[in-house]
Structure formats: C-alpha cells, structure tokens
C-alpha cells in the first residue's frame, strides 16, 4: 500500500485539504517521480471549499457545489490512500493506517507532512451537542450545519439571534463576524430586521484580535445595530425546548438567552494526533517552527495549515502562503541543506459585509491589518468596504480550484506580505 520499493524516498502527506493538496502538488513538480514517491492519506474523498459554507445559510451557495473529490485535485504521480490514520510512530517513521478489517497497514516515510487541519469538537462544551442542537443551535462550520441553518432561517420569524465563538483557536476568525454582517443584510432583505435582536458574543476583548481591525469591525457592528458582548467564554449551552428559550452560560456566570444560536464550536487537531505519542500539544496541534514550518517534534516532520500551532490565523490563505516555504524546506531537508526561515505569517481575508460588498485585510506575524491597498498602491482597498472586494471574494473560488490547489503561483500575489500600499508601514 503506497510504499513504493522502486523509489529511494517516500514523502507521506496526511490530509488532502487545502494545505496537503497544494503541498503534494508543489512537491510533485519539484521532486523527480522516479526517485521520490508522494502519498496523500485522507479518511474521505470530499474536499470542501470551506469559505463557501458561510454563504449556504443565506441561500447564496449550495453545499453540493462546494465539494469536489480530493483525489481529482492531485497531480498525476501522487498516490492517494483513502483511510483513517490510526497513529504516527515518530520513532520508526511510520504512519499506521486503519484498514476496513481493523488491521493496520504501515506507510514508512522519509518525510512526513502533517496537513490534517482542525476538527470541530462541539461535544467538549457542556450541552452544546445536546438538546436543541441542529434545531435551535447551529454551526455553519460544517456542510450539514450550514444546510440545516438555511432551513432554520427560512422559517425564522423574529427573536434573539446570538452568534458565538466558544473559544480560540478557530478556523477563519473573521467568519463569525461575516455571518453577523450577512445576517443583518438577510433579515433586512426579508423585512424582518426590526423583529430581530442580533448579538455577537466573543471570548476576545474586542470584535477582532488585532487592534486597528478590531476598532474598525467593532464600529461596523455598531453601525448595523449588532450588539457586541466581549470576554464571553461559553461554559455551557442549553438549547431549550418549545416552551423555554435557549441560553448560553459563560464561565463567569453571565447568560445570554436566544431563540436561535449560531455557534462556532471548540477546535482541536485531528484525532490521530492525540493517539500519536509526542506528536501534538494539549489541543492536538503540532508544535512547529513558525518560520521554517519544520515541526519541533522530529526533524523529518513538517506541518502546513491549521494542523500547526504557529501563531497565524487558521485560514486557507495562510496554508497557501506557507506552501512555498514548506515545499522549499522539504526539498532542502532531503538534500541535507539548511532550511530557510521563509514564512512571515502572511494572511489575508476578504470579509463579506452584506449588500454585495466586502472588505479585505492583509497582515502577518509582525504587522496588524492596516488600511491601504493590496497588493500595491494600485489594488484592492484594505480595511474598507467595496464592491470590488466582494467580486474578488466570489472570483476567488475559481482561483482556489484551478490555481491555488494545483500549486500555481497567483499572479501578483506573493507569499510574503507586501508593505507597499499599506498606510503606516514604512516601504523598505
């Protein structure tokens, strides 16, 4: 299985999502197929374009259109193994894959790329997956949840809607804010807005993590009449029933009643990480050098995307910008060359704000999101709503499937954060 005895080197990639797919495709281009076998392992063959899930509850996207086979996104010459990973043995450089009969197959590796992302763990919050779950309490972070929420919104006739992030880290930290903006727009379009109280409850001390963007986004919430509740660390959820409303209860005792709750559950790393001695931290993310993307657990283990513990957003754009550094360093490692600390924490996100507009933020480890233009002084406006950014967000889906996953460079979009065009960053 996957272990090719004709080649001298085996690269195994765990996860066929954004990071794993683009890493495997870029590596395949760089490494000669006769010498290096590349194998991608994933438990299913459904690659979801996750940014599209935000639009599903509002009828602006259909789940079926967001899903494509994982294997079809991989270049020729990449093996795909569809099976759950049982565990990784770092001592023996082996991945143990669970077979249908309970037996394990073993994939030996010279280099392992961990790209298995983050998983939702609603069951870790008391009551969240209990009564009312998928009836009055939803998440749009899964295809099933997003589709169920579309159904719930279609029959919602007013009341209190609470959007809540249980705790960080979460994938795409701006998505819950986008949900608020789109919900405000959607309720207005449907003539319901004056019958809806919209509340955003976050564990952070502001609307977002970075000060300039937090102030800007907080102002946008206020402009739309969306209440912001800060430092709300959800301890338990009661979905209520037909006669009682639901309640979110914070650890500090505060309560938020709701008629409809849209919750972003706790995130953790893939389950096999917990079963692999020495691989993950307390939350199942892999300790990783934030600049080289080499893991801190073994020199031949590299990490891309949400699976890493680096202090960057868990977002597809980060996995994309990491790709160049990651594959470069895998190749350097195989050639016994020193690794390059090439990744600067670059992230960018379009933030959908409703009414066919969006804003764009661009930042890295050292520079918070600032106003200006991207990627240079002539470009998309940063931290400001515009129709152009909304069009950009919509066009991006095609770029994702046809350029980003195949591992092509996007024209004008470099891996490092551009300083030109940003207000307040000295051009160097």
């Amino acid at each position: 299985m996957g272990f090719d005895r004709d080649v001298t080197t085996n690269v195994v990639v765990l996860g066929g999502g954004t990071g794993g797919t683009l890493a495997a495709n870029r590596l395949r281009r760089l490494l000669p197929a006769g010498d290096v076998a590349i194998t991608v392992v994933d438990q299913d063959d459904r690659h979801v374009y996750q940014p599209g899930l935000l639009f599903v509850p509002f009828g602006l996207a259909k789940v079926d259109d967001l899903v494509r086979p994982r294997q079809r996104q991989l270049r020729d010459g990449i093996d795909f193994v569809r099976a759950p990973v049982d565990h990784v043995d770092l001592e023996r450089d082996e991945v143990h894959v669970a077979g249908p009969d309970g037996a394990h197959s073993v994939l030996g590796y010279d280099v392992l790329v961990v790209a298995s992302g983050a998983r939702l763990v609603p069951e870790e919050t008391e009551g969240l997956s209990g009564r009312g779950w998928m009836e009055r309490v939803f998440t749009f972070y899964t295809p099933e949840g997003a589709a169920a929420l579309e159904g719930a919104l279609a029959t919602f006739d007013g009341g209190r809607v609470v959007v809540n992030v249980v705790d960080l880290p979460v994938k795409c930290p701006v998505a819950p804010l986008e949900f608020c903006f789109l919900a405000d727009w959607w309720f207005r379009e449907h003539g319901l807005r004056d019958r809806v109280d919209l509340v955003y409850a976050t564990p952070l001390d502001g609307a977002f993590t970075k000060p300039v963007a937090a102030a800007h986004l907080g102002g946008m919430l206020a402009d739309r009449g969306i209440d912001l509740v800060t430092e709300f660390t959800t301890g338990s959820v009661d979905g209520g029933d037909t006669s009682t409303e639901g309640r979110l209860v914070a650890y500090d005792g505060r309560e938020l009643a709701f008629d409809l709750a849209v919750v972003v559950p706790l995130h953790a790393g893939a389950e096999y990480v917990d079963r692999s001695p020495g691989l993950g931290d307390a939350l199942g993310f892999v300790p990783t050098d934030q600049h080289t993307l080499q893991s801190k657990v073994a020199p031949n283990v590299f990490v891309i995307g949400d699976a890493a513990d680096v202090p960057a957003s868990k977002a597809g754009s980060v996995a994309h910008f990491e790709g160049e550094t990651l594959v470069g360093n895998v190749v350097r490692y195989l050639r016994d060359e020193p690794l390059e600390p090439g990744f600067d924490g670059h992230a960018n996100c379009f933030i959908e704000t409703g009414f066919h507009k969006a804003l764009l933020i661009d930042f890295n480890y050292d520079t918070e999101p600032l106003p200006g233009r991207y990627p240079g002084s002539i470009g998309l406006p940063l931290l400001r709503e515009s129709r152009l950014n909304h069009v950009g967000k919509l066009l991006f889906e095609s770029l994702y499937w046809h350029s980003l996953l195949p591992g092509r460079d996007l024209p004008g979009i470099g891996a490092s954060m551009p300083a030109a065009g940003k207000k307040g960053v000295p051009a160097c």
Binding site: D167, L168, P169, P173, Y251, D252, L266, A282, L283, A312
Partner: protein, 105 residues
Amino acid sequence: MLMATIASHAVELDEEGFFVHPEDWDEEMVPELAAREGIEDLTEAHWAVIRFMRREWLDKGTGPTVRVLGRTSGVSIKELYELFPKGPAKVAARIAGIPKPRGCI
C-alpha cells in the same frame, strides 16, 4: 508602559498590566500582584496555578489559554474561574509575571 513598585522592586508593566520583562518577576511579588487583582486570600490552589503558568511560559514561550490550562493544569475550567473570577488565563498570567497568553490570533 508604566512603572510599578511591587514588593519594593520597580517593574515595567504594559498597558494591560502584563510584565514587560518577565525576568524581573520574583515569587515574593505574588501576594501584592494578587491583591492588585482583588485576590486577598491566596490559597495553595492559586499558587499551584500561578506556578504552572510560570513553568509553561518558561518551557513554551507563551502562557496557556484558559482552555489549555483546564486540560493540563489538573484544575477544571470551572474551578479556575472560582479562583480567578475575572478570567483565569489573563489574571494568573499577570500574577505570574508573564506576557499575555498568545491564544488570541
């Protein structure tokens, strides 16, 4: 930045009250730092969490978030909030003289 005198030592705090130079911290400052957070009766349980925060920061370069603290310190999140009602991770980090926990990206 502001200067504060804690247990007769001058220390520099950032605008949120976290130590700018964690190496300036000493255990003898703990009772006074805790009192500044409204905690007058320091129990063994408080000390255990404060020492754990300090050790985690020394080992990993960042203090744990409340969720990680609940998983790794042996004290449940509910109990952590009973010990540090205004937010365990931040308050215990300030008392332990370490920077703001880095969970907030």
